[in-house]
Structures are given as C-alpha cells and as structure tokens.
Point group: D2
Chain length 290, copies 4
C-alpha cells in the first residue's frame, strides 16, 4: 500500500491503461471503484508514457491494439509497476508464432503448423501440407485475415495479396492443418493460476470462424480436469496472469489454437453469468495487500 509520506502519496493503487473503452473496461472501472481502490485512468491516445513514471502499484493493460498493450506494459514494468499482463505475456500471446513456440516448449499440443516468411516458402509449405489448410498472419484479432484455403490457386492468391502489405508480420504466413472442429471452439478464461470458466463459440453468418466479433454464438461449456490442466499449463507457458485460451476438441483430444493476453469477456459473462470484472478487481486487491 502506498506510504502516506513523500512523493509516494499521490500514487494510485491501480492504473487502467486503455485506448477505446469497451464495455469490459467500463465494468472493470466500476468493480475497482466498488472495492474502494484508488484508480488512475490512462488513455494512451492522450497521455505519453514515461520510463520515469510509476503512477500506480499495479497497471491493468487493456488497450485494443496488442502492440500498444505490449508497449504500455513494457514502459510501466521498467518503471517498477506490476502489470497485468506482463509485457512478455502480451507480446507472446499477441503473436501467434511466438505463442506456438511457447506452447511447443511446454509440450502443449496444437494443430500441425509451419511458418513461411516469404512467398516461395509459403507455396512450398502449401504443397507439402495439402489442402484444405488454414493460412493466417501471426498478428491480428477477431480472426482477421484467417483464411480457409481450398487449393493451391487460392493459396497463391492469398500470398500475392499479402505481399503488398507494409507490415512484415502481415506478410508472414502460418500454415496450419485445418481442424474439422474449427468452426467451433472452447474459450477458457484463466486468472492468477485459476480457471474462471469456459464457453463454446460457434461460427455463424456463413463464416467458418467462431470469433464473437464475427457473430459467433456462445454458450456455457463444461470444464473437466484435463481441460483445466491444459488451460493452466498454456497460461503458464506464455507467462500469463489473465489469459483467454482457445481450444479445439478433435476426436476426443484437445488442441490449443490461440491464446489472448488482453481477453475480451463480454460474451463469456453473458453465457456463464460469471462476474469477471468483480473477480478481477478482487484479485487485484489481494495483490495490493501483500
């Protein structure tokens, strides 16, 4: 807890770092205030970030852009602030290549994948894997540019379109075996080493991607010890604290698809009735007590 002496006095308990306040951020603010925590709101659209400023003990990093989240966490950490999530967890979960590497090192299964860093490598990877396959860039949310590729001609079109992007990451390809279960998945929320719950997400509107932002429908899912263990292991592999884990079930086996370091949880709350902002705020309060 902040000292009542010195420059420390004005430091808040918790800082919320955001850019566009979604419903999630508004609910987090309410929950933190309800617990009496002193809150500092930092909208990075208007506030520069300095390596010399530690405006709170803990910073909740909630910008929509993953890179902005990683930068915010990195600067705050260097100034001595504990961030949720850590810059490392945000960076890893915000990049599907880094994330898969972390899962691999931890022995966690995911759909067979290769990385192609240029056009010809991507064509070769497609030839070797066969079709259909899923092609996606390492960055991007809500299933953006994730493509179900039916044949080599379509793969060539995807490769050609991506070559004109300025961003090196968007010119990079992850080619992945298409998991038939891929138009529905499980999203599990983990906080501080505990599983909060899980939902099913099912693709709708003629899209094969199950992202809620694409109109995917959600409903509460049952957990089991295997799933819980997998979620905790995945969360730990990317060194995450508040993490969403996306899991495919295929022939009775679980495969981790993606991890999310700034998880959205509106659909999760609706489907499960779990009060995520309250649990998050209480978790933060417990950390402050230490």
């Amino acid at each position: 807890m902040p000292s009542i002496f010195g420059s420390f006095v004005m430091r808040a308990d918790v800082e919320l770092v955001f850019d566009v306040p979604r419903l999630e951020e508004k609910l987090i603010i309410e929950a933190l205030r309800r617990l009496g925590l002193r809150l500092k709101l930092t909208n990075i659209k208007y506030s520069p970030l300095s390596w010399d400023e530690a405006p709170a003990q803990i910073s909740l990093i909630r910008t929509i852009s993953m890179l902005r989240a990683a930068y915010s966490a990195s600067v705050r950490e260097a100034a001595g602030v504990r961030t949720i999530n850590s810059s490392e967890a945000i960076l890893i979960s915000g990049d599907k290549i880094l994330a898969l590497s972390s899962l691999k090192r931890a022995g966690i299964r995911f759909p067979k994948s290769v990385v192609a860093l240029d056009e010809e490598a991507a064509e070769k990877a497609g030839e070797a894997m066969g079709f259909p396959l899923v092609d996606k860039p390492p960055i991007g949310s809500w299933g953006r540019l994730v493509t179900l590729v039916q044949d080599m001609r379509m793969l060539r079109s995807v490769i050609e379109h991506r070559q004109f992007y300025q961003s090196q990451a968007l010119r990079t390809h992850i080619l992945q075996r298409y998991v038939r279960a891929g138009n529905s998945d499980l999203r599990i929320l983990v906080l501080g080493g505990e599983v909060l719950g899980a939902i099913h997400r099912i693709a709708m509107n003629g899209d094969w991607r199950s992202n809620v932002a694409r109109g995917g429908v959600v409903k509460r899912a049952e957990l089991n010890p295997e799933l819980e263990e997998l979620a905790l292991k995945a969360s730990s592999a990317i060194r995450g604290e508040f993490i969403g884990i996306d899991v495919f079930e295929e022939n009775g086996e679980y495969l981790v698809n993606e991890v999310n370091g700034v998880p959205e949880f509106k659909g999760f709350m609706e489907a499960t009735g779990i009060d995520v902002p309250k649990i998050l705020a209480e978790y933060v309060k417990r950390l402050l007590r230490r």
Copy 2:
C-alpha cells in the same frame, strides 16, 4: 557433437538462417567451413520453418529483417536448437521501446525519452519536452524515419505523415532529447560476454545520422573499462550473445542509444582489422564441444 546413430546422424553442427546474403553472411560461412563445422544453409525465402525440425545444434540467425530473425529464432528454439541470438534478445533489441525498457530495468542510462502511442499524445510529449528533439518509431534499421525535429510545426508534420502507415509500430513515436553528440557515436561489438572492439561512426553527406548505411564514416575507437562494463551490462540486459551497442558520449558521460541483435560488422572489420567471422566461428565451435 552429433551421434553417429539414429536420426541424429544428419544433423548439422551449425545452421545459418538468412534471407539476403550480405558480405557478413558470406564471411561467416567461410569461417565456419574453415573450422570444419558441418553447415546447413537455410534461406527463409524458400524454406518454411517447422516446430518439429531441429536441423542443427546451433542456429546463427542472420536475416536482414528483425522480425524474420525473431520468428526464425523462436521456431528453432522451440525445436530444441540453441540460437544466436535468442529470440528474446532479437525481439528486444529489434524494438527500441522494449530495448529501452530493458536498459531502464538494468539501471543503464539513455537519453531522456517518452513513448507516444497516438497523435495527441505525441503532440503533448513534444510540448513538454521542447525542441529540438528526436522522433523515431520503435522499429527500423539504418536510422530509417529517425527525425531531428526543430519545432512543433515539424513535429505535427511527422505525426501526420506517420498516421497513414499500416503498421502500428510505425505509428508509434519515441520522442527523445537530442544529444548534441548525436551525429557521431560509438558502436561496440559484444560476443559471449566479451567485448570485441569499438568504432566511431560519424555522420556524413549532410545527414545528421551516423549510420554506416547512410554513408557514415567509421574509425577504430579506444575502449576503456567504463565503456566495456557498460557494453557488457547492456548486452546482458537484453539477454544478448552477439550484440552491437551504440553509445553516445556527452560531457564525459556515456548514454546507450540503441542495441542491435543481428549486428552488421563490415565497417567494424575495416576500421579495426578484427576478424569478426573467425572469432564468431571459433565461439560457435567451443559451444559445440560442450
């Protein structure tokens, strides 16, 4: 050393991962071959990378693009290969925000800087810091887009121009106090916890940036214990193994400006006569013996 039994047989000692082979890469290949090491060349333009392949004990990561280097290192590491540098060191040194955060945590001094993640934040930062200042995006080599900004009108122009980039990183601003010594700097090369040497780089051709790629002139520089310690500390702060450290000298004080995780060393060799590829190859060979 690879076993003569099992699938291990075909594994190389060292893999060189590259995209465009510069003089540096050609010299490294020669030096490795001269030491009798079994070498695997992987041009990521043509070869997909798999998390299931470990084609060598050690991978030297030498792509021009920092992101490609980081991805290559990440996939290889996850497959059990030791990479030089580690994906972590490449990621951190390839992003000036992450690098400054690491330096800050290690107590290493750098020119006063703030991060602005959006337009208005950048204007505010400029007002607070005053002019001249240096504005740069967190990614990019050879001084690309690093701008000496004279006044608010020029800063607004820089901000406006950057807003139209697709890449979030290129829309991000590091605003930094202009160090008068900024048109000359020291580049120190570190390998495996030892300092190889140092050069002065002096800006030329009417450019204020000292990058060799911009025509900067180089000459051998003298080291001293303070500089050596700083370089090793900086290299260690970003968890680097083969690293270039750029240092400003101002009023007798040293300030780290940037770090480089895939260092170019052609100019360094010319100015110092130090045979970097040979030393690097011998270093790699020693690692293999273990």
Copy 3:
C-alpha cells in the same frame, strides 16, 4: 422528362450517389424532393455499379472519396447518364497535378510549382526552389499531408516518410512556392457557368492551413469582376459544372490554388446565407426540362 412508356418508366429523374451522407447530402436530398423530382439514392457502400444501368437522367456524384466519385461518374456516364460533375472534371480536380496542368493550358496563374516523382528529384527541386516551400501530394482533401517546409533537413524528412506509402500518388511531390497569404484564401463556388458566391477561409488552431475541416474560420467575401472571371475560367478549364475554386490573393494579384470537384459547402452556406442545395436542385430541374 422520362417517358411513361417502355423501360424508361421506372427511371428516376435524379440519382444521388454517395457513401457517407454529410449534412450537404441531406440538404440536397430535401431540396430535390421539395421540387418534386423523383430521386434515386445510391449508397456505393452497398450497391455495385453496372455499365448496363442508367437509373436516372442525371446523377449527382457526392461521395467523400474523390476516386470513388470519379469511378461512379465514369460508370454512369458510360451508361448514358449525365453526371454532375463529369468523371473528367472529378478526376482532374481530384488530382492537383492534373488540375494545375489544366489551369496552365488555360493560361490561369498559380503559385510556381514543380512535380517530383521520386526522392532525388524532390531533393533537387527543393534545392532549386529554396525555402520555405509547400510540399503536397497530388491527392487528398482537407489539406492532408500539405506541409510547410522550412529547410532541406525537413524536406528530407518529408520525402523519407512518404517513400513508405503504398500509394504511388502519395509518394509523389508537388513542391510549391509558399504564398505568404497562404494561411487565408478565398473559396468561390461555381455552378453551371455562374458564380454563386465566395468566402474567406482563415487558418486557426495553430495550423497554417485554412481548410474548414482543420478548424479554419469562414466569412462572406466580396466578389469583383476579375475574381468572377477567374473562377469561371478555372471551372471551365477543368470542364467542371459544380466546382469550388480556392484562390490566394498576393500583392493585389489572384492565384488559383486548388479546385474541388465534389465541393463541401456547409461553411459557405453559414457565411453567405446562400441556399446552395436549393439552387443546385433548381439547376438540376432546369436540365431535366430540356
């Protein structure tokens, strides 16, 4: 007027082609309806355009994007529709290089300018012209990327920033003598060979550009025969029908700065009290009678 026989029956009198309906478009719709004209609304966000469809006798082209306006006009014209403006006028006025060429051919004066199609050409042009100068790309509205350049270092920064744009047009430079009167200008509206009126626009908010979209302040301006003749000549030079002409006054001389083929007129109406939508609707109705 449409015949009551044949396929002609369903054809509207007037089509409004738009993307984002601004106040201007809403007022035009009201004015056209008030005159009893049969109106077809085409939002190009949702409606493909076919070369086989002529949904009205006259199409008013009012998309925000100049290129979308030009494409819409081009397709409609080819199907036999009269468009206001013509695709030619929209294309020319939407591109500052084409516009200046048209003005030049018509003997109309504008601030001394050169075109640089690449980096080195732009540097040379800057050296030859001296500073301050204005640098702008040929496309873009509301003063976007129009930069007052103070010296060669700033010009180099502008050139470097622009080189990373995907759009060839945005990598193109018009370098123009800076007209001291440049932070205020006259905007004259022309319709069908007649001058509707004029306003002064004065730069505000610390910006030197007088665009209304940048907070520029407007007030009614007096016309004189010289100004009227210049506006009509400029409008005719670009083959325009409903056109905004921007004019600098310098030492008692008039210089045309830009022309606009899809003119905004909200600020014009407020400052002059002239009911532009009503006059436009009546003009359209007169054309239909013929």
Copy 4:
C-alpha cells in the same frame, strides 16, 4: 523542326521520359539516334518536371509506373509538348474502370463486369454474378492481384485482404465474368491509327494469367479485318496513339479485356520479328516534319 532563333534553339526533337530503362527503352533510344533525331533523356527519378519547360517537340512517355507516366505526360502537355501517349490515353488505359467506360461508350464489347467500391457491394456483386468470376483492382500491371474466384468464401477472403490496403484503387473491385478462353489472349499493337501486328499469349507455370511477366508464352498471331477494326476502334476510344489491346476470343466472338498505354513489346518483337522501335522512331520523325 526547331527554329535556329530564340530560346527554341536548344530544344530537342524528342524527349524520352523514363524511370527504369528496360530493353524496350534502350531499343527506342538507339532507333531514334539512328534516324539522327536530337534526343533528350529525362529520368524522372532525378529530374523534377516543371510546367514551364518544354524540352522537346515530342515526349515519348515510357515510365514503368502508369501514374508517373500520366503525370509526366500531363505536365509536358501543359507546357506545349506533344506527348505519346497523351495524358488522357495513359490515364484511361492505366485504370481498368475508366478504360471499360470508354470502351462501353464506343460500343466495344468486353466481358460482363460490375464495379464494387466497397466490401458489401463486392459481396452482393459476387452473389448476383455467380462463380467462377474474376476479381481485379482497377490499377496494376502484369496481372497483379487479378484473381480467379471459385466461390463466395474465396471472394470474402479477397475482399478482406484488399480492405487493408492504403490505396483506394486497390480496395476497389472489378468483378468480371470468367471467360473460359481467359488463360490465352491476343495482344495487338497499334501505332498512329495503324495495326502493327498481333501475338497470342498463353498462360504457363500453373498460372491462369497469360501475362508475359508471369511466364506466359507468346507466338505470332494472324490478324483479320474484324480484329484490326476492333483494335483501331478500341485505341481510338481511349484516345491512344501507341497502344496495346488485349483481346479474348470466345465462341468466335472478340471481347476486349484490357488496353495498355505504355505497352511493353519485347515478347511481341521476338514472336513477330517486327522492329517496333524502328517503326516508332520513324513515326515520330514524320510527326516532326509537319
């Protein structure tokens, strides 16, 4: 011919405006010199263009970038130079929407097409047309981004990928009926109202596009009066002087596919033995005599 008096003296007969000199440009230069014409070479990478300079009587516009060609022609024309092609012909032929509009107005047949200026419009157009169809942006050479789309899912992928381009033109879709003959076409060269010859181009290397730049194979094609008339009519429709016309043959009928205002002719020369640069140089010389 230039007068021997006044400032006219130094003016060249012909200016070649280029950026990257291909074989075509080198051959043109030789041919012009062989005829004794005074030649001015203008590389727009290094030379700014001024509306006050007319360095030659005739400018041959041969930049690779269509937009640079259009700008060069526009500035030179305004200074009183005759350009081949005119800026109008280059602009129209360089943009497939403007080109099809011109063909339509001239009553020339092309594969049924619609224009979609935004995402939803493109989806609707795809639904209405059915599959397979061809989707292409209005700008771009060598078949770039021209995609054979098999079904709605693939169309959605193309639309999504294009939405992230900065260029409005690249976000624009021409959706076109797929002509079965589409992997082979005729390229006819027209100069000054006369047909020079024709070649067949046949797609190779697994690509369905017949562009020579994509490895398409060429051979001499026979002309007939219908084809000749079509080529001249198309060339005239876009107001071209030296133009390439691409034609599909389907069930005995000819359909114009594209027109080219800065035609490449290396493959044409090889297949037909026709000395295009010589004929072009002689044509230019005849124009000068007048």
